[in-house]
């Protein structure tokens, strides 16, 4: 092969890599444009930049996330939240906002996660997620810093969040039916019901120490003690 022939494959490879990244850049541009729009809108509504900075600092102290992470989450929140509370002048997200994220619905655990957001947020039946609640849920997924201990982001808090995603009626235990339902959603429709049932039964048998037919939080923690939860349930872009 001639020497120059080496260049052609190289150029092909690089151009492919570049083109595949363009759609990501496009996405970022769109969100940036939308952000500019919404921020301009809120500026007219009266919230200024300085108070939002203070809010960020407060949230950062509360959740343990860094200010840059909170800013990033804020940008994302503002793109997603299409409603606004008139009295408080606070944007919030509803179920439809969550469902507008396309990939979320394809994921079998998507609806459960949406419910988990609302379960954390809600005292009343309003089905609203404000930014503070949004941050609170996401802060569970920060990588654990061994030096700084934070109540929202310990191993136990992570496990508790995982547990509540299963146990939506907040009964404190996971029954076999709840577990089977989740398992069915995860495994898909290709597997016969009997198999799913046998796996569920097997799992219950393994975890349920006192054999009362349901898994409590302690039993769950014990079953997970060998798993590296701190690493599995954390994102590196959340600092």
């Amino acid at each position: 092969m001639r020497v120059e022939a080496y260049f052609i494959p190289t150029i092909c490879v690089f151009s492919y890599l570049l083109i595949s990244k363009i759609h990501i850049y496009n996405g970022y541009c769109k969100t940036a444009r939308r952000n500019m729009g919404t921020i301009a809108f809120f500026d007219i509504m009266g919230s200024s930049l300085s108070t939002s900075n203070e809010r960020f600092k407060e949230l950062s102290a509360q959740s343990g996330l860094s200010i840059s992470s909170i800013k990033m989450l804020n940008d994302r929140f503002l793109t997603l939240a299409t409603h606004q509370d008139k009295t408080l002048k606070e944007p919030f997200m509803t179920v439809s906002d969550f469902e507008s994220i396309p990939e979320l619905l394809k994921n079998p655990l998507g609806p459960r996660l949406i419910d988990a957001f609302f379960a954390v947020a809600d005292a009343e039946q309003q089905k609203r997620v404000y930014f503070a609640d949004f941050v609170r849920v996401i802060s569970h997924f920060r990588p654990i810093d061994k030096n700084v201990h934070h109540p929202w982001n310990s191993r136990e808090a992570k496990l508790k969040f995982a547990f509540t995603m299963y146990d939506l009626n907040k009964s404190g235990t996971i029954t076999k039916d709840e577990f089977t339902e989740i398992l069915k959603k995860m495994i898909g429709d290709n597997v016969s019901a009997a198999k799913v049932d046998s796996i569920a039964e097997r799992t219950m048998r393994e975890t349920d120490g006192d054999s009362d037919g349901s898994i409590t939080f302690q039993e769950f923690c014990k079953a997970m003690e060998k798993t590296d939860i701190e690493q599995k349930m954390s994102f590196r872009f959340l600092t």
Binding site: Y6, L113, M186, R236
Partner: protein
């Protein structure tokens, strides 16, 4: 019914239409079982914590004595073999080969020794056998066998053999390892084994660090080591002169971490998977870089210092992409071809399947060699990508046989390589230059450490699971050089310094494999490095929750709008499911509503089910082994070869409270599974049972007839179509032990 076939029956029952037909031996045995005598196996199963009577102590002592007698016999046999070997070759080279054609025909039948006829194959086979027998002998003494890695021992054996053979004045040509033989025949099995058994998920999670170490690390090492040696050479420390390109050539081949050595040493140390995959992945992927650098400096050397243009340098740099990506591309193409072809394998043609699985990756290796791209990358990529689809397409027994055959051939090749390394150490002409060797080894160690520290500091900015100081130490220390460096140095063009280079390479290899390889195990223990999480301990719930966590993380990534690794993986899985798997696997189409969108890639669910079945099987076998121990304890006076049925009955009647629980558990397991299966079978459609290859030709034909006959009986009763029952019926006809109680139907299981 032989007790070992119970698991087959259970798993058939449990798994239903995914014919997961585990062979009891294949799950519980490690390869070492093959080498120990039956008396030794007995010895191991004797439970020490039970109260052992006087007779047992006498029995055990005699068994242990028998064991040492056996092994001593083996050692003597080995020695005899070596001496025969040596004298044969000695005679061969001393005397002239006899002329086959004699003028006068022999008057009567004479016994002749036709050595020429079988010389080549005899040599090869004998080498492999010798090396393998030597390996057994190392493990005679447990402490000695564990302390030294096998590769170091084999090098020592090679040295001893070399000494012996030079003493007998055997000519050099019998044991010269040709570089072609090494790169074409010995290296591919080893690397294929590496690629096929690569932990895929760990590799792709650590892909950035692996690539960084492989590319940047190797280049850094080459440049620094080369520069050091060049300037020291200029300063006149060394005896022989060399120019810049020659020394860079040497630096290129000595700085690459060797996959053969890494496998050989790390396999025994059982470090955690992330650390292993970093060193191992680096060893594999730096082949691309090493080849580029080697050929680049070779060409530069041929062109000569004065005739170099700038474009030559640039072409060298660009050729890296071509070589690396070309290798990967060839591997992918062949993986695609193999998966596609195995899709069409039917039960009647299933014996052909392993042929494809071995020959296509080998073909990818050779194709890559022909195209002058990285052949190691090709075969490794082929192994990684075809595994998933091929496992779907071929029967389970074929998968197991592929697994064992791969391991076997890789072991053979590895042993031969190390023995030859030792041999060449003793028999080649050396040019010892202490300064050169010392400076090379020192610079290898120092620059590797510096490289690892700098790269890890850079990587830790981006990684979730950071490299601790101890991890970094292991990474630096695990950079072993091995046979590939030796192959490359021997195939170097003849220059003035070549002998010195060869000697130095050998010294470096022996130092790394011998010293570093030996000390790595105690260091792992001392530094309390996280060991491999034994998969047997992982419970089903952990696997279920791993799957669950992955999905949760993907969700959160979608919510926060960040594209993380989970997202990529999910996208790949979707692509896999929608595009690749329909083409490459004959995944049976279940009739489901086409409007319902498949939300989860089936591979996750199948993995889950397969793991679940595996764990059930393991537990069942464990409870059976407890049975066996106890029954051996009770029936120590009788011959160990008892039939399963008798054992079960006797232990139950003679049992005390110790065994009560396990038998109950076992029995509950049986009845629960069988009941469930019956329910399922009566509701569902009949499934196709599939027969394994019989133990001898008679059984094979009989089974075939049985299969077609039983197909006719099926229509009558659905229960008789239960795979467990057909299996048992099959076993009855093919059973070897005479006292077999046929068990049919759920009610036939004896209840307490």
């Amino acid at each position: 019914m032989d007790i070992a076939s119970i698991p087959n029956a259970i798993i058939d029952t449990f798994s239903g239409e995914t014919a997961i037909n585990y062979d009891a031996v294949s799950i519980t045995s490690n390869v070492d079982y093959l080498f120990y005598s039956p008396s030794d196996m007995l010895c191991r199963w004797q439970p020490r914590y039970f109260s052992i009577g006087w007779i047992q102590t006498r029995l055990m002592a005699s068994q242990e004595r028998r064991r040492y007698r056996d092994l001593r016999a083996l050692g003597i046999f080995f020695f005899v073999l070596v001496s025969i070997f040596g004298t044969t070759y000695a005679n061969e080279s001393l005397t002239e080969t006899s002329d086959g054609l004699t003028s006068d025909a022999p008057k009567h039948f004479t016994w002749t020794f036709n050595w020429d006829h079988v010389e080549a194959t005899y040599t090869v086979t004998l080498w492999i056998l010798l090396a393998s027998v030597a390996k057994i002998l190392f493990h005679v003494n447990k402490t000695f066998g564990d302390a030294l890695p096998d590769s170091a021992c084999l090098i020592v054996v090679g040295c001893i053999l070399g000494a012996l053979l030079t003493y007998f004045n055997v000519s050099r040509e019998f044991f010269n390892l040709d570089s072609t033989v090494f790169f074409l025949y010995l290296l591919p099995p080893i690397v294929f084994d590496a690629g096929y058994f690569m932990p895929n998920r760990a590799l792709f999670e650590n892909i950035e660090s692996v690539m960084l170490f492989a590319i940047v690390g190797t280049i850094f090492n080459t440049i620094t080591i080369g520069a050091t040696l060049y300037y020291c050479g200029m300063a006149g420390f060394f005896g022989v002169e060399f120019n810049l390109f020659e020394i860079m050539l040497f630096a290129a081949l000595i700085s690459a971490v060797d996959p053969v050595a890494v496998i050989a040493v790390f396999e025994e140390t059982n470090v955690n998977v992330n650390l292993f995959v970093n060193v191992f992945g680096e060893a594999i992927f730096n082949d691309g870089v090493a080849i580029v650098l080697y050929t680049m400096f070779l060409k530069f050397g041929q062109i000569g210092v004065d005739n170099m243009h700038a474009s030559d340098y640039v072409a060298g740099g660009a050729s890296f992409f071509v070589i690396a990506l070309g290798g990967v591309l060839i591997g992918l193409v062949f993986a695609f071809i193999v998966s596609f072809i195995t899709r069409f394998i039917t039960p009647s043609t299933r014996v052909v399947a392993p042929v494809f699985i071995f020959l296509f990756p080998y073909l990818s290796y050779l194709t890559a060699e022909a195209c002058s791209v990285s052949s190691i990358l090709a075969i490794v990529t082929c192994g990684i990508f075809m595994k998933e689809y091929v496992k779907q397409n071929i029967t389970h027994e074929a998968t197991i046989s592929v697994k064992y055959f791969t391991k076997m051939i890789a072991q053979c090749a590895e042993t031969v390589v190390f023995v030859f390394l030792g041999l060449s150490t003793v028999t080649s002409e050396h040019q010892w230059d202490w300064a050169f060797i010392a400076i090379t080894i020192a610079s290898c160690l120092i620059f590797r450490t510096i490289g690892v520290i700098v790269q890890c500091a850079f990587l830790n900015l981006f990684r979730k699971k950071k490299f601790t100081a101890i991890d970094q130490f292991m990474l630096a220390y695990g950079g072993l050089r091995g046979a590939i460096a030796f192959g490359l140095v021997v195939s170097m063009p003849l220059i003035a310094a070549k002998k010195m280079f060869v000697t130095t390479t050998m010294a470096v290899i022996i130092f790394t494999v011998g010293f570093q390889g030996t000390t790595i195990k105690p260091l792992v223990k001392k530094l309390r490095i996280e060991l491999k999480n034994d998969e047997a301990d992982e419970s089903v719930i952990e696997k279920v929750y791993t799957c669950y966590f992955d999905m949760m993380m993907t969700c959160i990534e979608n919510v926060t709008g960040q594209k993380g690794s989970n997202d990529f993986r999910e996208k790949y899985e979707i692509f896999n499911q929608k595009v690749l798997r329909p083409i490459l696997t004959n995944h049976p189409k279940k009739d489901h509503d086409p409007n319902v969108e498949k939300k989860v890639s089936p591979i996750q669910s199948e993995n889950l089910i397969r793991k679940c079945a595996k764990i059930t099987l393991r537990e069942t076998l464990d409870s059976i082994n407890i049975h066996r121990k106890i029954s051996f304890h009770k029936t120590a006076k009788e011959t160990p070869v008892a039939t399963g049925a008798k054992e079960v009955v006797r232990t139950r009647t003679a049992s005390g409270s110790e065994v009560g629980i396990s038998v109950n558990e076992l029995e509950n397991l049986f009845s629960a599974i069988l009941d469930k299966k019956l329910r399922e079978v009566t509701l569902a459609q009949p499934v196709e049972t599939h027969t394994d290859i019989g133990d001898d030709y008679y059984n094979q034909t009989v089974q075939h007839n049985q299969q077609s006959a039983s197909d006719l009986d099926l229509r009558r009763t659905e229960i008789s179509h239960d795979p467990a029952i057909t299996n048992l019926r099959r076993q009855k006809r093919g059973a070897s032990s005479p006292n077999v109680h046929l068990v049919t139907g759920a009610s036939a299981f004896p209840r307490l």
